[in-house]
């Protein structure tokens, strides 16, 4: 036994079509706070899922050595049994239950047929005091704020006798005071010997709290910086996160004449549909011209999808205010149908969840947003529908035996093409593509980029929302940077660089 509590060696994890982790190595010292940083999709969360047994032994290659022993976790309970406890970014608490009930959910005090509620609440109170909460454990989760909920999660982890605590973006939904309190709590536990791994995008917090920082990029470990030895400045960390060459992964656009403004949004505000008073989009103004490709960059949760969907016929949010101009004329789009009629298209980031009907054939999916286009007085012209589907299949080079193939059986790239076909068939002037290449392989990405260029060449306006910086940089004529619902930067293609965009995001954060 040494002062190394955890070593992850040569971890490789593949999802169908994507290598999420490629030979990743991580060494965590006992009693330290170790930070993992990297862009969205770099593989940080996947690595932690491997560690906690969510991705069971056998689904990855490589070794996890914990306290000097090789571990083969097949489920979360296995890793928790050894004191490895993960707290996810999305809080996993049941709002209608009390703090005490939540804390021992699945780990109830007393006998299986007779829960000992007195013990439950007494113990829960004890752990609550440890994290500095004065609340009674009988309080319902929904009655306490998000900051306190995060502390309850930590108390819950302590109740599981955590030796190694993993926190995935613990401060992403907290305000400054709560974040500071949480970080100080982590430092306090460190004194008592608890080891923590913290995933965060907030580099100032990382430099404040961490002893070591490991940078992950595209599924590889790039470097590990150690406090006192290496430079811990934000710029230094950013360089590690984005230092990557943009090669010719992006097809060139030739001679596309950029025309007049096709769509303009002014002073756009959107509130969260459930949390009263939570502003998701904050005074955003932007525009896109004919034949122009505009990128919107930002971290997950920056409000990009919410902005796009609220523009697309108010399909997200409440109390939406602001003005929307299409070709210079102000329009009020009340619903999605209106938006489609005004030649707007929104291609969702979640093609399986909200884009396609997986159990239906390509033909049906292709025509769904424009059934009027293949029907007369409400009667579908089966032959026309078939012909259109085949037409788009050939135009976009969708690989499938026939258009009667169910979309669920296609690869991610081909599903994305069907989704694009569906929206191209509505003949839009402005297309908002939300993460158009998420989870698809490099070859299919290139084809999607070609389609985007083709659309621009036809004089359409394209907005690309993407978490991948190279994609935004490689494809856009102009880039808006969005953070916490606000536009925090605008760059032309010439000005923009990965460092500038990441800098704009990270420096705007609190």
């Amino acid at each position: 036994m040494s002062d190394i509590i955890l070593e992850m060696k040569n971890i490789t994890k593949e999802f169908p079509g994507v290598k999420a982790l490629d030979d990743v190595n991580l060494v965590v010292k006992r009693g330290s706070i170790h930070a993992l940083v990297g862009e969205n999709g770099a593989g940080k969360s996947t690595l932690m899922k491997v560690l906690s047994g969510i991705h069971p032994y056998g689904s990855y290659s490589g070794d996890i050595i914990y306290n000097g022993e090789i571990c083969k976790f097949s489920k979360i309970k296995d890793s928790e049994g050894l004191g490895i406890v993960i707290i996810h970014q999305e809080l996993a608490l049941v709002p209608q239950m009390s703090i005490g009930e939540n804390m021992f959910l699945g780990n109830e005090r007393g006998k299986p047929m007779a829960i000992n509620w007195n013990e439950t609440y007494a113990e829960a109170d004890k752990y609550l005091r440890e994290v500095g909460l004065a609340e009674s454990s009988r309080t319902l989760i929904k009655d306490i704020g998000v900051g306190k909920q995060q502390l309850v999660e930590i108390a819950k982890a302590l109740s599981k006798k955590a030796k190694l605590l993993i926190l995935d973006e613990p401060t992403s939904s907290l305000n400054e005071t709560d974040s500071q309190a949480l970080l100080d709590l982590l430092l306090h536990f460190k004194e008592e010997g608890l080891t923590s791994i913290i995933i965060s995008h907030k580099l100032n917090e990382v430099s404040y709290v961490a002893d070591d920082i490991t940078v992950i990029r595209d599924g590889h470990t790039i470097e590990t910086l150690t406090k006192g030895i290496d430079d811990f400045s934000e710029d230094r960390i950013i360089r590690g996160m984005v230092g990557r060459e943009i090669t010719d992964r992006f097809p060139k656009r030739h001679d596309v004449a950029i025309g007049e403004v096709a769509m303009e949004v002014k002073d756009w505000n959107v509130y969260h549909p459930l949390y009263v008073g939570k502003k998701v989009v904050d005074n955003v103004s932007l525009n896109v011209r004919k034949g122009e490709v505009v990128g919107i960059s930002g971290l997950m949760g920056a409000g990009r999808t919410e902005l796009a969907m609220s523009i697309f016929g108010h399909s997200y949010g409440t109390d939406i205010s602001g003005q929307l101009f299409l070709n210079g004329e102000e329009v009020h789009l009340k619903n999605v149908k209106d938006a489609i009629k005004h030649k707007l298209a929104y291609v969702t980031e979640d093609r399986k969840g909200s884009g396609l009907i997986l159990s239906n054939p390509i033909r049906v999916n292709s025509s769904l947003a424009n059934l009027e286009g293949v029907s007369n007085h409400g009667v579908i012209d089966a032959e026309k529908e078939y012909a259109e589907a085949v037409d788009y299949k050939e135009k976009l080079h969708t690989k499938c035996p026939t258009v009667e193939q169910n979309v669920g059986n296609l690869s991610g790239g081909n599903q994305q093409k069907v989704l694009l076909a569906k929206w191209m068939f509505t003949d839009p002037d402005v297309l908002i593509l939300d993460e158009p290449t998420r989870g698809i392989d490099v070859g299919a990405k290139y084809e999607i980029y070609c389609i985007i260029n083709q659309l621009a060449a036809e004089g359409k306006s394209v907005i690309i929302i993407s978490s991948e910086l190279p994609e935004v940089l490689g494809m856009s004529d102009r880039i808006y940077v969005l953070n916490e619902g606000r536009i925090v930067g605008e760059f032309t293609q010439q000005e923009a660089s990965q460092e500038k965009i990441m800098g704009a995001i990270l420096k705007s954060g609190k």
Binding site: I340, N360, I380
Partner: protein
């Protein structure tokens, strides 16, 4: 390869094969009685309400496995109203109009809560089941009320003369019935083969010629069989005409219209449908409003057949309808199911009903069997879905 083909065939036609097996079983157990002309006639005449209700139920189930529990009570309530107004001497046509209007109104009432206020359909229609059962009792004051209007009874398939009269005056054989059967076969064959030729000409994919021929011959033989059997008894029951009409209309709506497509889309992926500019609330509304209308129609068939209205009519009708849909291949998750499938399901339910009655199985055991058949059908759906994932 060959084994796979057989497996795929069995999977595609599971319910048809099971129907054949069940018919075979009852033919054996009843010594062929189930195939007597009178029983074949009853299969359609007695179960007309199942076909009608199951068609409406299919639309509800398509939206996402949602069911309507109130149909049995609505059948009874609308029937009760009809019987009362006709008893008061109201014109028959006006009475029909009133019944359909009330059905639609009840449907719209439930649809409002389900589609616009998002009350779960199970709860809304469970409430409707109680409300309209209670109101039926109130309207009929707990008693049986006869339906004396002879035209109404005959028109909707009740009494001894609810058959289309044979204009050719055939002896022992209803010639009109045979003629209708022959015409149906010709229409079916012509439309199948011209449709196939058309698709072939335009370069679309078509089924293999052999498969089409085999399928067409089987369907033609089945139609011919039923036509002969019905002709040997009293001819075409009027109720069957109504059933054919409704099945025809709803097959068309579900397979050929944008409205029909919307039902499948909502059940397949509601979020994607919403983001495609389709008003999903309207889809739910139509499903449940329409269910009310068809329940009213089934109510008319019921009081005509039984020539009376009673506060207990329509009990468990919802189960027959729901069962037919699931047995006929509708998915408990929504988005999958066809009207022809539901016909198979309803036929299977009908065969089981009649077969068990002929055998003289205790009514309580009949319920056990029907319940198990329904469970088996849904298990089949759930398990096969799981394998796909």
């Amino acid at each position: 390869m060959n084994k796979n083909k057989v497996l795929a065939f069995v999977q595609k036609y599971t319910m048809v094969l099971i129907l054949v097996l069940v018919v075979g079983f009852f033919t054996w157990r009843t010594g062929g009685k189930i195939l007597l002309p009178q029983n074949i006639t009853n299969l359609f005449a007695q179960n007309a309400y199942v076909f009608v209700l199951a068609t409406g139920m299919l639309l509800c189930i398509l939206t996402g496995g949602n069911i309507d529990l109130s149909v049995g009570s609505v059948v009874c309530f609308v029937g009760a109203i009809g019987a009362v107004v006709m008893d008061k001497g109201l014109n028959m046509w006006l009475a029909i109009l009133i019944m359909l209007a009330i059905g639609l109104l009840i449907g719209a009432w439930q649809a409002f809560w389900i589609a616009l206020v998002h009350v779960p359909p199970f709860i809304t229609t469970l409430a409707g089941m109680l409300v309209f059962r209670g109101l039926s009792n109130v309207v009929l004051q707990g008693k049986t009320l006869g339906v004396a209007n002879e035209t109404f009874v005959r028109l909707f398939g009740g009494g001894a003369n609810c058959y289309i009269p044979d204009i050719f005056g055939g002896q022992g054989m209803n010639i009109l019935c045979l003629l209708v059967g022959a015409i149906a076969i010709v229409i079916y064959l012509v439309s199948t083969f011209t449709g196939r030729a058309n698709r072939l000409k335009k370069g679309y994919e078509v089924e293999k010629l052999g498969a089409t021929i085999v399928k067409s011959v089987i369907i033609a033989l089945v139609i011919a069989f039923f036509a002969v059997k019905l002709a040997q008894y009293k001819g075409l029951p009027t109720a069957m005409i109504w059933v054919a009409l409704i099945i025809g209309i709803y097959s068309y709506i579900t397979s050929k219209t944008t409205t029909g497509r919307h039902f499948y889309a909502v059940g397949g992926n509601e979020l994607a449908t919403k983001l495609s500019g389709i008003n999903t609330e309207k889809v739910y509304f139509i499903a449940y409003a329409n269910m009310g209308l068809l329940a009213a129609f089934a109510g008319m068939l019921t009081i005509a057949r039984l020539t009376s209205a009673q506060p207990t009519y329509g009990q468990n009708y919802e189960m027959d309808a729901i069962g037919s849909c699931f047995i006929g291949g509708a998915s408990a998750y929504g988005g999958v199911g066809t009207v022809p499938g539901v016909i198979i399901g309803a036929l299977l339910m009908g065969v089981i009903n009649i077969g068990m009655s002929i055998i003289g199985l205790d009514a309580n055991y009949q319920k056990v069997v029907k319940g198990l058949v329904l469970l088996a059908a849904v298990i089949f759906d759930v398990v096969s879905k799981k394998k796909q994932r």
